[in-house]
Point group: C2
Chain length 338, copies 2
DNA sequence: TTGTACGCGTTATCAG
DNA sequence: CTGATAACGCGTACAA
């Protein structure tokens, strides 16, 4: 019992007693046909429940009205939030969103890029810049418009829509130093293949150097994006002698894990140890104490990325970077050293 | 000067010195060609950076290898998590994911469903069951396979992949009663047009009735999915006399907001007031005290939904519900009344 | 204003 | 095992 396939333009044409060309015109550019024939066509369309076949249309027009995004994972709230804004902006422009995830794996990312491009995308949103030359080569050869987000580098030609992770981390470190801390340690995300994570480390190191300390010798632990990672890392850092008085974390999840470990160890935050985050996700407002962190404009970033992509697709704009602000928001987890 | 568009099968064929048919075979069913010609083809593909044109393929095969999801919003961590698992499962099957969001608005959901269907989807994942008959009518007429998730009803014919919100909430309420509470209140999500939220309310009411209390008279406040909503709601509930000794929340975000308000009011949780959640998101493990909540298998739900859809598309299975377990996880925010 | 006819890139059928 | 060729559904010159 093979399902009757969907009605085609020809079916509509026959029913309305006109040619397929007329139907196509009545649907795509109504001004080109008389009111009466349009009426006829529309009724036939309605009766048959006709919808244009996407494949046929894409084949001839070579436009897909589709834009893709490859992100590490939606499990991470910051990407989910950015993606939501991205999708909304696209939807308002009549474009649908294709989503793929890389799981922070460059090879998998390239594979997903290939799939999306093959599936027909008018543009692509990617996270960060650390990826093999092969991936860029593919993108360039296929001449697919793409934007890189979640980071910003003034020295790169690619179209970045994001904020300067290095500068933001540097600002946070300066703030910590301002509070009088000298024994500063860091819990970073995994930096391999992740420019956001490594830029944040670089920023903190730069700030230490600027204040006359050694960035190179700063105690640092890398951990995966998880509460337990933050807990483990803090425990390890606190074994050090002299003990750090402030721990700068590469993201909020690590920071919250660190806070919970500090409390479990009987330490007061920030009196015994200061802890800072990065991202400003919801989590950071419900910890006790609330987290001093870097606010990242995830939604605005997603919107801006969508708009940039749309403009590139329409040829309105050439690729051109957009830098957004990420600034320190002071709450209670950073204080003076005891 | 816009000459080179994407390379086609013909380009590859010419470069490899074979026919287009051979290229197609080498790519889709490698066993059908000799090793040497396959080698030739693959090299040409690689040199040209060829990717199959989706439109052409969809046109002839009438398969899109695309499945869509319409969710309220990715901002909500529970949907993001489920969607991630959904996407991964799809990707493993060579299917890409189209995402649209409804913002909890039924009209907008239908519009998005229309877009996705018109765009060519082999199936659709939707959240919950509360939507106008019009939406179901459209789906049925277009004969699009779809699954309803995040809820489960044994009395409905649609394919549900989810858990029974009502029963889970009922179990939680029974647990609260077991701890000795008699003055129980509830902070619910907005129930209008949201069957998950209203089923949770129903479940709690049922449990109260079963324990000889009035479900109808239970103090209840509805609030939007936000920390501040939880705060507001708890403040309002605590004005009541006699004051409730336990507050059951419709989700974790509301519960965490409620906890933070309780503490701000100088109340101890659970000594002065017990608070429970629903969802078991990451947030629930970092509050002080940790949240007693209902664990929902978001990832497994996303996976199961994807598999069900894939099976329906392939005609392997007819629509058939899949019920998952959601069970109470006891932590520290629920105690005995003082 | 409307119809005819072709081509878009791919897969499938049928010969060789 | 491989090649020629006919669909697939649609948009659009071009002709009427």
């Amino acid at each position: 019992m093979k399902r009757s396939s969907a009605p085609t333009l020809l079916d509509v044409a026959r029913r309305a007693g006109v040619s397929t060309a007329t139907v196509s015109r009545a649907l795509n550019d109504p001004a080109l046909v008389t009111d009466s024939t349009r009426e006829l066509v529309l009724r036939a369309v309605d009766q048959l429940g006709y919808t244009p076949h996407f494949g046929g249309r894409a084949l001839v027009s070579n436009r897909f009205d589709t834009i893709g995004a490859v992100i590490p994972t939606m499990d991470n709230a910051i990407f989910a939030r950015g993606l939501q804004a991205f999708q909304e902006t696209l939807s308002d422009a009549g474009v649908t969103l294709l989503v793929a995830s890389s799981g922070y794996d460059a090879a998998r990312e390239l594979q997903q890029i290939r799939t999306l491009v093959g599936r027909g995308t008018d543009g692509l949103m990617l996270i960060g810049m650390a990826r093999p030359a092969e991936s860029y080569a593919f993108l360039d050869r296929r001449r697919i418009p793409y934007v890189l987000t979640w980071n910003y580098r003034c020295d790169r030609k690619e179209c970045f829509v994001g904020f300067d992770n290095r500068q933001a981390a540097r600002a946070m470190a300066h703030k910590v130093i301002e509070h009088g801390h000298r024994r500063i340690a860091m819990i970073a995300g995994i930096t391999a293949g992740n420019d956001r994570a490594s830029d944040r480390v670089d920023g903190v190191r730069a700030a230490l150097e600027e204040a006359g300390m050694s960035g190179r010798r700063m105690p640092i632990v890398e951990e995966t994006y998880s509460l337990s990672g933050g807990r483990r890392a803090l425990a390890a850092l606190l074994e050090r002698r002299p003990r750090p008085t402030a721990v700068i974390c590469g993201n909020d999840v690590l920071a919250v894990g660190a806070i919970s470990e500090a409390k479990a160890l009987g330490l007061r935050v920030p009196d015994d140890v200061s802890i800072t985050g990065f991202d400003d996700i919801e989590l950071s407002e419900v910890t006790e104490p609330r987290l001093t962190t870097v606010h990242v404009p995830h939604r605005r970033m997603g919107e801006a990325a969508a708009r940039a992509l749309l403009a590139m697709r329409d040829g309105t704009t050439d690729r051109q970077g957009i830098e957004l602000e990420a600034s320190v928001v002071e709450r209670e987890s950073l204080g003076a050293p005891s």
